[in-house]
Symmetry: C2
Subunit: 512 residues, 2 copies
Amino acid sequence: MAESARRARGGGGAARRAQRSAVSFETARFIERNIPNFEVLTEEALEIIEHNAETVLEEIGVNFPDNPGALQRWRDAGADLQGERVRIPRGLARKLCETAPSSFTQHARNPARNVEVGGRNLVLAPVYGPPFVRDAAGGRRYATMADFNKFVKLAYMSKWLHHSGGTVCEPTDIPVNKRHLDMLHAHMTLSDKPFMGSVTEPSRAQDSVDMCGVLFGEDFVQQNTVMTSLININSPMTFDDVMMGALEVYASNNQACIISPFIVGGAMAPVSVAGTLTQVLAETLAGIAYSQLVRKGAPVIMGAFVTSIDMNSGAPTFGTPEAAHITYGAGQLARRLNLPYRSAGSFCGSKLPDAQAAYETSNSLNMGLLAGVNFMLHACGWLEGGLVSSFEKFVMDADQLGTLHHLARGVEIDENAQAMDAIREVGPGGHYLGCAHTQANFKSAFWKSDLLDYKPFETWADEGARDTQALATARVEKLLGDYQQPEMDPGIREALDAFVAQRKAAEPDSFM
Amino acid sequence: MAESARRARGGGGAARRAQRSAVSFETARFIERNIPNFEVLTEEALEIIEHNAETVLEEIGVNFPDNPGALQRWRDAGADLQGERVRIPRGLARKLCETAPSSFTQHARNPARNVEVGGRNLVLAPVYGPPFVRDAAGGRRYATMADFNKFVKLAYMSKWLHHSGGTVCEPTDIPVNKRHLDMLHAHMTLSDKPFMGSVTEPSRAQDSVDMCGVLFGEDFVQQNTVMTSLININSPMTFDDVMMGALEVYASNNQACIISPFIVGGAMAPVSVAGTLTQVLAETLAGIAYSQLVRKGAPVIMGAFVTSIDMNSGAPTFGTPEAAHITYGAGQLARRLNLPYRSAGSFCGSKLPDAQAAYETSNSLNMGLLAGVNFMLHACGWLEGGLVSSFEKFVMDADQLGTLHHLARGVEIDENAQAMDAIREVGPGGHYLGCAHTQANFKSAFWKSDLLDYKPFETWADEGARDTQALATARVEKLLGDYQQPEMDPGIREALDAFVAQRKAAEPDSFM
């Protein structure tokens, strides 16, 4: 199987065909920022937090339960072990992190969709993980594989998404021990954008690597990064053996991991911003250092998934100012480690794709761009605290992602942008709509929504007085109707189908 | 009348009574930023734009039509005049702007509500100008004085609004030549927050000054700023005699004006960011310089109301990345002039308080905070491109303004914020909810919405599955039900009533 994959790539025909389809759907290149980062921590505050994080690692330590291999690696590296507790001498974790690359290329099967993760770039990937889906017609319900496929198609069709993501929703109608195969198959065949691997069992991470061997060729996978997968830290300071097992598979195969605390502030971290940042830094230092103990140079992303909490109900809250402070601050800490940074997303607590959802999401998306985030998971489609993938919100958020692309361009100052001829031509009391400069520049001057309504009130009323959700329902239908599957070498497709069939046949279904 | 007003202030009883009511409604103090400004223009770009703006003033000039007094002032100052065209020698306008104060206090009748405009402060004022109102029950309809009064009450009750604003909606049931009297009377009696004066005729500006004389005492008004009023420039580069007439009244009475281009990009200014900023700077330099020709030291705010345009329909668009670039850039230009800056707001094009409205508004509010805006007009309640004041959106946006207050606080780094004791106490795998640090800090740690829903799905569904608009309808009713009129000296109230009655009797109604 792998042989046929390599041959197909070598021929170049598939790549050329994919390239043609890429043009017709107009996927934007990942964002390269031409604007500064927004920073909220002073140099003094950064030094205090860094000092405190080392104190946490040295004096309190982190837990690696049920993982003798990990404990041995830490012992060999010079850490102090007591049971599953790993205490890391001051400076050691930071030193180990130095071998992680400051940026890396994640390859897509269509090379035009490759992404550069790190530096001043921002890669946008869709929502990850919800067990439910919602749309206006069907309401809220458990997600199925049919829903999953639709989200992969919507992500493929979205101009502003660079990445197909991973578990865009949980296909609950497929056995737990087999759904990763169907999910990967969908990302590989329904899209040609880069994607994420499974992390729910080390064996499923291995399946992900093996399927990439089929798609890209085994040698290509060993020499290049073709997956970025999500490794959550069980905050506070616990490195779960299942997640670490998946990390070990990916790192040893040169595949990228996001190593990310998952924190509801006040519950899994202190109720203060500086305290939470201290814990985030301690946790990511330990996790990234561990990835480098598995394989020096393995690509990683420093993650920070942090929300605040409603202290009355205990519910997580999104798009809040405290989450913003943490996201800005963690970006500063990541840059001082010279590592790619993951944070922010289309976060919201609302049950519906309504104004609450949009306020919260917009707060988080804007913050993510200005915080210097390099990889934004959940960039569209998240609803109800991550319990729901919303079809309408997916296309609503994806449209807003266009604003981030335009914001990131910064301000041009060349002679055309200065427009002095236009100001002279029009003069006091004149009108710019018809002037030469406007005619020459209007097409590219402004970001253009593919969704929002700017019609006069009367036209809008005549057309049914639709709110944003109703406009989004229509856009979901349109995109799914227009969808065309990207071409794929039939030999590779056959081999992928065979791999999935064979692995499914090898063990009984489990829904646990 | 003025005598009785002065006596009442001198006594101090009214102020003390007002202070008591201020506490019960918990109005936040204006925002004092402890975070940096976000800047998108390089030093080189700033210098080019400043050079070009001077070129515009010197070579193209600005128009002051139908205003011989203004032309005489400019001639005396050394400008080159041809008809109504005023060409201003390079450097002159900037030089004249130097006498404008870098910040000023706007006094409220309740001294606890005074605001400082300038520096690192941000003062939030509600929507201004819409002829229509909308609420869920009544739909979209022409605004009336009853609507106006409700908005003044909502602004008074809002914790995060520092200012009562001006024309919160146009009371179209009151004659055009008399509605300013009723509007000012409402701001003065239904609220004790600072407010804006009328600008629709110079005589109405004079009425505004005279009514303030009744409220504050004539001497107090001459020695202190008690109104901030909105003077729009008729872009490109035209200074309308009515607006300038109002400016002349206010400046000569030491009252503050926002001098603000009103620009739909691509129509009233070049279709590029740098070109628009050049025009904004040229226009505000000319307008502010003129205010200083009227009275040296008159308080002013440099304004920039700039939207982009949908080139297909010609409709203005809001919350766009190009508007953000201009708002960030204009902030940099204002700071180099050492002047207070007005921009941003709850801008949106949507017809409904839906997700589109919230995305667009949130984009603009966040940008306004980070751009260093000192006075944000339209900070809540704007709908449909400014045609509509929305009751629901007013309280939705006003709630979001709380996030700006918390964001502006920045990050604390003292020992309590570092929370090292909490991290030690909880340790790996623990839980922070019950720890001593959380118990001591949780009440003030996180911004708390007074509107948004964080309930579990089932609870929310049982309670009617309300969207944000429905939650807002309930909040509008609650606030209006809880409203209590702030106390006022009966002598002043009588004098205000008498002033309005007398001015109304003095001329026939006009609806033109």
